[in-house]
Amino acid sequence: MKKTQTFSVVNLTVNRGDRLVFRDLEFKIKPGTLLKLIGPNGSGKSTLLKTLSGLIEATSGDITSDESSVLGDHEWISGHICYLGHKNALKREFTVFENIEFWARLWNNPDRIASVMEKMGISHLSDTPVRYLSSGQARRTALARSMCHAANIWLFDEPTVGLDDQGLKLLSIAMQHHLDGGGMIICATHVDLGIHSEDMNILNLADYSVSASQYMEKW
């Protein structure tokens, strides 16, 4: 699979119901860089990540990879994007290993399982059913699962929720490793991720939000 060289968003506008979430959003990221999404609650960080992964339809604008549009291109998205939202998508009935294994097979990467579990420090939990995990351990499992995906672009929504200091450190190492290998990450978080500052850009969604006064003008 050819690695994506640039991933960019052009004039992206997204509505949720009647409400305009953000308008004319533009950014471009290159391999080896992380885009940190910040902004107050409700400024559309999760909405942006969901739009990029194709879960929410954009009202207008375009998402492009290497200058060609990938908006709504399911095949491209499933091969190049790995999305992790607020929800962990783990089944309580199965063990940590079974949960990761299922997705690794679905994504055709079963040989990565052991290494990602070690990366996130959950190897000792392999046979523990997910219902016995703490929220931090469950988050680590979900992150490890996401790392089984061969995707070049990681979209993480608040990945650090519930993680302890060690978990944060392991995540930071894994992210830096992904960046050093030419990967891209877009991550909504308010925590210091410990990524080299030269690899990191910050996008404040508050700059693109539609303020209340402008919103009223519409009517």
């Binding site: 879960l55 929410i56 939202g85 998508a89 089944k91 309580r92 997705w103």
Partner: protein, 222 residues
């Protein structure tokens, strides 16, 4: 790709087994509904024999309905459905795979228990094999059509009643042709036409419902 299709179906079947065995409850419901009729209409043998096939089909429809909301509910709540939507497998195939899992965990146990209920209802001897054939051919349509209702109501908090209202009318062809197929076999008037209609309806659902359900799932996630 086909390995992924089976792995999703297998996963749902395992969850159903481990999470308090839905199958056992559905079968219990099926038995209770059927046994309520002799209590209601009286234990007259000829009367029971005449209505047996219809009652078993209606009870099977209701039992199937009972477990429909489980098809997408848990996956929607824990975020699995988000991941399925952007997975390499198309959502339409995932819908078929989940309908298959629902059929295996719900309808197959019902088909197995049906001969015993036939005895209980004093069903005609000649109806035993035809009703098993008819249910085997017709029940996949119940699971497939059910995915439409399940996906449309997945984001509603109490979608159960709405689900029944949406889906039961769509089950009517299965009921009509299912009963007709068995009855005409018993009467010796052929019955292959009704069987063919039943099979055609199942194939028709297989062709239509995955698209509808996948669209409804995408809508629910938006």
């Amino acid at each position: 790709m086909s390995a992924q299709f089976w792995s999703i179906a297998l996963r749902d079947i395992k969850i159903s087994w481990q999470g308090g065995s839905t199958s056992a409850m559905v079968v219990a419901f099926f038995i209770i509904v059927v046994t309520l009729f002799p209590l209601g209409v009286g234990p007259e043998q000829n009367m029971l024999a005449r209505i047996a096939v219809g009652i078993i089909w209606v009870a099977a429809l209701l039992s199937c309905l009972l477990s429909l909301d489980r098809i997408f509910q848990a996956d929607y709540e824990d975020g699995t459905l988000d991941q399925y939507t952007i997975s390499p497998l198309s959502l339409e195939l995932i819908v078929i795979s989940k309908a298959l899992a629902h059929w295996v965990t719900t309808s197959v146990p019902l088909i197995i228990i049906t001969p015993f209920l036939g005895v209980l209802m004093n069903m005609d001897d000649r109806a035993f094999l035809p009703i098993i054939y008819a249910m085997t051919i017709g029940t996949p349509a119940l699971s497939l059509i059910g995915t439409i209702g399940a996906s449309l109501t997945v984001s509603l908090r109490r979608g159960g009643v709405l689900l029944s209202l949406l889906i039961l009318p769509l089950y009517v062809p299965v009921l009509i042709f299912g009963v007709m197929a068995v009855d005409s076999m018993v009467m010796g008037t052929g019955g292959s036409a009704a069987f063919l209609f039943l099979g055609a309806f199942t194939l028709f659902s297989l062709a239509i419902t995955p698209w509808a359900s996948a669209a409804a799932v995408r809508l629910a996630l938006d």
